[in-house]
Every structure is written in C-alpha cells, then in structure tokens.
Amino acid sequence: MLRYTIHRLLMMIPTLLGVAILVFVLLRLMPGDIVELRFLAEGGRVSPEALAVERIRLGLDKPMWRQFFDWITGIFVGDFGISMWTGRPVISEIGSRLQLSMQVAIMATLLAITISIPLGTIAALYKNTWIDHVIRVFAIAGLAVPSFWLGMLIILGLLLGFGWIPPLTFKPIYEDPWYNLSQLIWPAIAVGYRYSAVATRMTRSTLLEVMQEDYIRTARAKGVFERLVVARHAMRNALLPVVTVVGLEFAFLIGGLVVTEQVFNLNGIGKLFVETVSRADYTMVQALVMLVATFFIVVNFVVDLLYAALDPRIRYR
C-alpha cells in the first residue's frame, strides 16, 4: 500500500508537467494579448511605444522558452508569479477566492450526500413502486435542470417573494456565520440538487445490481435481518462507484461553477477563471489550470484510497 501510494504521488509530477506545457502553449496560441486588451478594449488611445513599455514590464518580450522556464522554476519554489492584469501575486488572488469556492463545494457535497444516499437506497429497495417513481422524477429533474438556471429561479423567488437577495460580498464563516450561510446556502442548494441527482441515480442503480449478487442471497438465507443485509453487505459495495462520482463532482465544483457564481455574484474560482481567460492573463490562467488539475489528481488519489477502506478485498501493489 505504501509503495502504491508513493508511486501514485510520483506519477503526479509528469502529469502536472504535461498539463503545464499544454496550458502554457495553448494560451499563447490564442489570438490577442493582455496589453492590447487592457489599453485598447475600452477605446484607449495608447501609442505603440506605451504598449511596448507594458509588454516589457510584463516580460512578454522574452522568448517563449524563457517565459516557460521562469514560470516553471518559480512554481518549484512556490512562486506562481504575479497576475498580469492586477499586478498582485497569483497566490493571493486565488487564495482570496478559494475559501469561498471550497465552502460552496463542501456544502453542496454534504447536501448531495445527505440527500442522495438515503433516496437512492430507498428507490432501490422500493423498486418500481410509487416511492421509486417519485424519487426518479426528483432525480431526473435534477439532472435536467442546469444549476445556474435553478440559481436564477432561487434568486427571482427570493427577490419577488421577500424583496431580498443573498449578500453580494463574502464574509468567512468564522467571522459571521449567519451572514456567510445566508450568502452561500443558496448556491449550495442550486449546485447540490444536480449533484445529488447524479449520486441518487448512481446509488440506486449500483445498489440494485449489488442486491442481485449471490452473497446477498446467502446472507438472507442465513437469516440476517434485511436492514443488516442492506447496510452491512450491500451498501459497502454499492457505494464504491458513488464515491468516485462524489469525488469527481467535488473536484469539478472547485473551478466549474462558472455560471452559478455569476448568477449569485460569488467571488469564486470559476468567476476568476472566466475573467482571467477573457483577459489573457497568462500567469493567472496557468496557475488556475494547475490548481484545478492538482485538485482532480488529488481527489482521484483519495478516491482510490477510499476504495481500499470500503472494500477490504482491494489491495494495491
């Protein structure tokens, strides 16, 4: 297990290096540069000399290999560079948004797990009854309704019903829990609903599959209570694919709430992603892609380790 863990950790390095090369090259293949955007997109009358001064200041006059070398060597010493748009350190720009995105992702995940596992289990146990149909409608509606659209409905409902919308700026939960929750509970619901729908469907189908297995029949034949059959024998196996789905969804939520963050005016990673791509802020986009890639890799790794915990038969070499 230890060898496997070390091997997986080492494999992260070439994967991240590949991501780094890819994002670095692709960004520079796209038309437009940040200097033109900043000074000309708003109709500025800027001389070519002034544009050149800014390009030099940002290091865009250097050869590509040099820019890549500077960036990648910086990463190894924990320096992700300076945002080309704001001039502030990339780490602080991301840090100020990561807390919010992490909290929404955690809240949505908790909500999804709380809803999906009981509902998926009930749907499987009462297969083809009215209970199963109701849960299926709930889950399919969740898959069909985009999170941002649900978000818009929630905002409109609050606005028209109470003349109120969630706070527009973020306060950490340890500073003002009520304010914090009154802002973030709504996007967590909007996102968590779709997330729970995916997990409910997955729980139902895998549990149904597991319930047909011979060892379940054996357990029942031994006279084990049905509740124990489900909880101890079926659920542990049925949850393996659910854990994968939950893990990947969680990683996606860190950078993927692009439109939902816009709807709720959340200052999160998704919004930052869109803004920095449209501004051609190379250093920031590079850092964000690396962050999200790292998240996916780490979450996958954790999911693999959880597999072993859930299923003792799984042993990695």
């Binding site: 796209m30 997109a41 200041r57 100020s96 003349g163 527009l168 700026t169 709807v263 005016n265 449209s278």
Partner: protein, 529 residues
C-alpha cells in the same frame, strides 16, 4: 427618429434634470451614510494615468482631485477642483493656475505646486516603466513652471483650443511628488490622493471601500461617511441587486428593458436619468482590403443605412437613440440638423439613398458583394446594432456574415487588420473635437484608426480646428472635416449611445453627464433618508 424629436427629447431631458436638480437642491444636504453602488468590472491597477475604463473611475476617482473639473449640473462648464483660479494668456501660449489653500494629502502632507508639476511631468514625460496613456493630449506643452508653492504655469508650444478642457480630465489625478520621487510607479499599487475619500479596502473581485477624509479641503464635504463599490459583472445580478436595494445605483448605464423592469418593480422609489451618451458606434472599413479601398463602395454601404428609422427602433431594445455625425448630437460644436442632413447617408429619403448606393456599387464594378462583419460579442448594444446593419446592407443586395468573436480576438483582429468591415466604438470623457476626431484622422497620426488609411486633408483640417480658438470658425472647419470624412466614408457613425441611469431616490447631489467617466468623485453626493 426625427431630428426635431431628438432635439425635443434632449430639451426635455435637460428640463427634467433642471427640475430634478432644483428639487434636490431645495433639500438640505445631510451628513452621513454609506453609498453602496455596483460596478460592472474591476480596475486592473490603481494608476489614473494608465487606465481607460469606467471600472477604474467609479471606485478610484473619489480618492483624488484634478486641477479642474466639470461643473456637474452645468456640463460642459468647467470649475476649479484643486485650482482656485486659472488664466490663459491672450496668445494662448500660457496657462496659469492658482491652487486652493490648505489642501492635504491623505497622509497629512500639504499639496503644493510641486505635486502638480510632478504629476503632469509623469503624464507628459513618463519615466521608464511608467505607462502614460494620455501623453499625446499634452504634446503642445513646452514646459511647466512653479514660481511659488501655490502657482503652476503651463507654457505651450502653440495655442490649443482643447487644453483647458484637458485639465479637467478625470484621469489626470494629482499625486504626491515625494511619493513619485521614491517610486514613479507608486500610484500603480497604492492609493494616496487629496480626494474626498480615503482608501480603506480593495477586496479583489468583490468590493472597494472608501471612507470620508476628515481633512478634505472643501468645507463640509464630503457628505457621505463612505462608499462601497461592489463589483457585479453579471447584468441580471446587477439589476437584481438594484431592485433589492442591495446597491443604490450603477453609474455606467442600463438597457431600456432593465430600466422598464426596475420602473415597474420599484415605481417612485427610483429616479431615472437619461441623456445622449458620449459614445458612438462606428462602422470601420479596412481600406487595405478590396473592395473597401474604393470610396464608392464604402459610401454605398453608408447610404444603405436608414439611421433615422433604425435609431427609433433600436432605442426600444438597445442603449442607443440618437443620430449624429462625428460629434455627439446636442454638443454645441456638433452638426446642426440642417447640416447633418446634407451628409451622405444622413438624408431622410432612404429609397433615394439606396438607389444611389446600388448605382455606386455598379460604378465600382462590385456585384454580389459578400463580406464578414466583425463585431464585439457584447450583447448591449453591439449585437442588436450589428443585426440591424446587416439587415440594412441586405436591402441593397449585400450579403453579410456576422462574426462576433470574444473581445480579445475581436481586438486583435481590429488592431492587426484581420477584418473586412467592423463595428467599433468611440467613448470619451468630454465633448471635444480633438478627442472624437481621432477616430477619423490618418492611421499615421491616430492609434485608434483601425481603417488603415491616411488622408492628409482630414489631418490638415484636424490641425486647423485644434488651433482655432473662435468657436464659429471652428464649427465651420469641423463641418468641412465631417463632409470630407463622411464622403470618403472610411469610418462612418451609425447611432449614438443613450445613457440611462437608475438611482434609488435616496441618492442626492449626483448629476448626470453625457460621459460615464465624469461626476464620480462623490464629493457632493448625499443620502436622503
């Protein structure tokens, strides 16, 4: 829209403002309160001299002063900001400013003429590594002298009809000479001015906070305890925030549909301000690409546009309304309606204009013209105006493909000439031919001419009007410029923007101007309870 309607609407707007202004002025301003407003974008850095966007002006301007500023209710009249008085010599070659007494920076140090000189030196001759965007506006300044701590004298190489107006530019913040000496790029990452509000916080991507500067040199100002600018990029979220009262205003502008939504939801809790906006949408032809190197083809495409009917229809769905030439309709040096109607493409008989357009295309030997129309992918007002123009050209048998790439690709295409015909815009902080005409003069003289043409006649007329201090003679020169520019039709105005601001009624002392860059120092703004 008929010109008379335009004029009457401008008049009605002006009267409405006068009415609103007098009603507000009749109330006694109150101290206190924090003004919360939305800003749809965020400033990239803190340097006035290196920024171009309203996203900078709205949160940052309240921290600074300029030498002069526009007299808010009486635009375009100018008044002193830091300057107590100013005098231009008869030959127009010298302008002397006397500063107001007891002006302090936010760090407690006194402002003197040395600070003004250092700030303008930075604009005119930026040190290495400093970006100065408006350097060209001060090309005529030969030297800056400071005979004493309260006096600044600008010596000019030649008379310049726009120079006094330049000193009221909201972008020319006055910085501390001592701070600039320590680091010429100090303003890029620090806020330290003399303005009515001190800097408190900038939470990146979220909000900007300013608090009242107790030692502000204007007695009893500012009225507000502070302000909070909240960055809301999504239009629907912005309108929702306004409707919920989470913000009391958004000072750039709203679309007609958002105005109607807010009016129906909030009724008399809000005040709607409207005015012709100092932003025009222009069609630019890439004259290096055939057949747009032919003036007949360009003019034909201009003649095909029914600006008057189009403006009336578009004003219902987009933030555009008025028909105008190269200068904003309503501005004293803009073409009168009688003059405007004489220019190609601005007549009211669209049938005759389109017949002439077809004839011009025939003469140019252009049959079955097809081209790609480059446009910004920003819905308001670019998309509806783009769709309208394509329909107008279709009516003379021209087929056009609408190309709306994202802003960075759009900007690069425009800049590098990778387009045939494009929709461009021109926004300024003040009605001033020296600014607005830059869009039309030769590429060798203007960095914002994307048509890639050179025309000595236009450059010569531009220069002449710059040097002409007599408004009547300047008007005549401007018409000559306009006639030539619109006949050659390298770049053609379509419709002018229309600014709509929706404020909660509590906001008092704020005055609408044709530019979203002006009247944002918040010095005189107060909140009625």
């Amino acid at each position: 829209m008929r010109a008379s309607t335009v004029l009457s609407s401008i008049g009605a707007t002006a009267l409405a403002f006068a009415g609103l202004s007098s009603a507000a002025d009749a109330q006694q301003p109150k101290r206190g309160g924090v003004l919360k407003f939305a800003v749809s974008a965020e400033p990239p850095n803190y340097d006035c001299h290196a920024n171009t966007s309203f996203a900078f002006i709205h949160p940052v301007r309240p921290h600074y002063n300029t030498l002069l500023k526009f007299d808010e209710p009486n635009y375009p009249k100018i008044k002193g900001d830091l300057a107590q008085s100013w005098q231009q010599s008869k030959d127009g070659l010298s302008i002397t400013f006397k500063l107001k007494p007891n002006i302090k920076f936010h760090d407690g140090t006194a402002l003197t003429s040395a600070d003004v000189k250092a700030s303008y030196d930075r604009i005119i001759n930026p040190p290495k590594g400093v970006v100065s965007i408006r350097k060209a506006a001060y090309d005529d300044i030969a030297s800056i002298e400071t005979p004493d701590a309260q006096t600044v004298v600008f010596k000019l190489k030649a008379p310049n009809a726009s120079m006094i107006t330049n000193f009221a530019s909201p972008w020319d913040c006055i910085y501390s000479a001592a701070k600039l000496k320590q680091d010429p790029n100090f303003p890029q990452k620090n806020i330290m001015g003399t303005g009515p509000f001190k800097f408190v916080e900038h939470a990146a991507g979220s909000h900007w906070v300013g608090e009242r500067f107790a030692d502000y040199f204007e007695k009893d100002r500012p009225y507000l305890d502070g302000y909070r600018a909240i960055f809301i990029t999504n239009t629907a979220a912005r309108v929702n925030a306004l409707q919920a009262g989470e913000v009391l205003s958004e000072f750039r502008g709203h679309s007609p549909s958002d105005r109607e939504k807010l009016k129906s939801a909030l009724g008399d809790k809000i005040v709607v301000h409207e005015m012709p906006w100092l932003c025009s949408l222009v069609v630019t032809f890439n004259t290096e690409k055939k057949p747009f190197d032919d003036a007949r083809v360009r003019r034909a495409l201009s003649l095909a546009i029914d600006r008057w009917q189009g403006a009336a229809a578009l004003s219902k769905i987009a933030l555009v309304r008025d028909v105008g030439g190269v200068l904003r309709p309503g501005y004293e040096l803009a073409a009168s309606q009688a003059d405007l109607l004489k220019f190609p493409g601005f007549g009211k008989d669209i049938t005759a204009a389109r017949a002439e357009a077809r004839k011009l295309l025939d003469q140019a030997g252009v049959k079955g013209l097809k081209f790609k129309f480059l446009n910004r992918n920003i819905p308001m007002p670019y998309t509806p105006v783009g769709v309208f123009l394509i329909d107008q050209w279709r009516q003379i048998g021209v087929q056009v493909e609408h190309d709306q790439p994202e802003t960075r690709a759009y900007q690069t295409s425009l800049l590098n000439g990778n387009f045939e015909v494009g929709l461009d815009f021109n926004c300024d902080h003040v009605d001033d031919p020296n600014l607005q005409l830059l869009k039309y003069i030769s590429a060798k003289k203007s960095t914002i001419n994307y048509g890639r043409y050179n025309d000595d006649k236009l450059d010569d007329l531009y220069e002449k009007q710059t040097r002409e201090l007599d408004p009547k003679k300047r008007y005549a020169l401007l018409r000559e410029f306009e006639q030539h520019a619109l006949t050659q039709a390298y770049t053609i105005p379509t419709v002018w923007w229309h600014r709509i601001i929706v404020n909660w009624k509590q906001i008092q002392g704020w005055h609408m101007s044709p530019s979203h860059y002006l009247n944002q120092d918040l010095q005189d703004v107060w909140l009625a309870q």
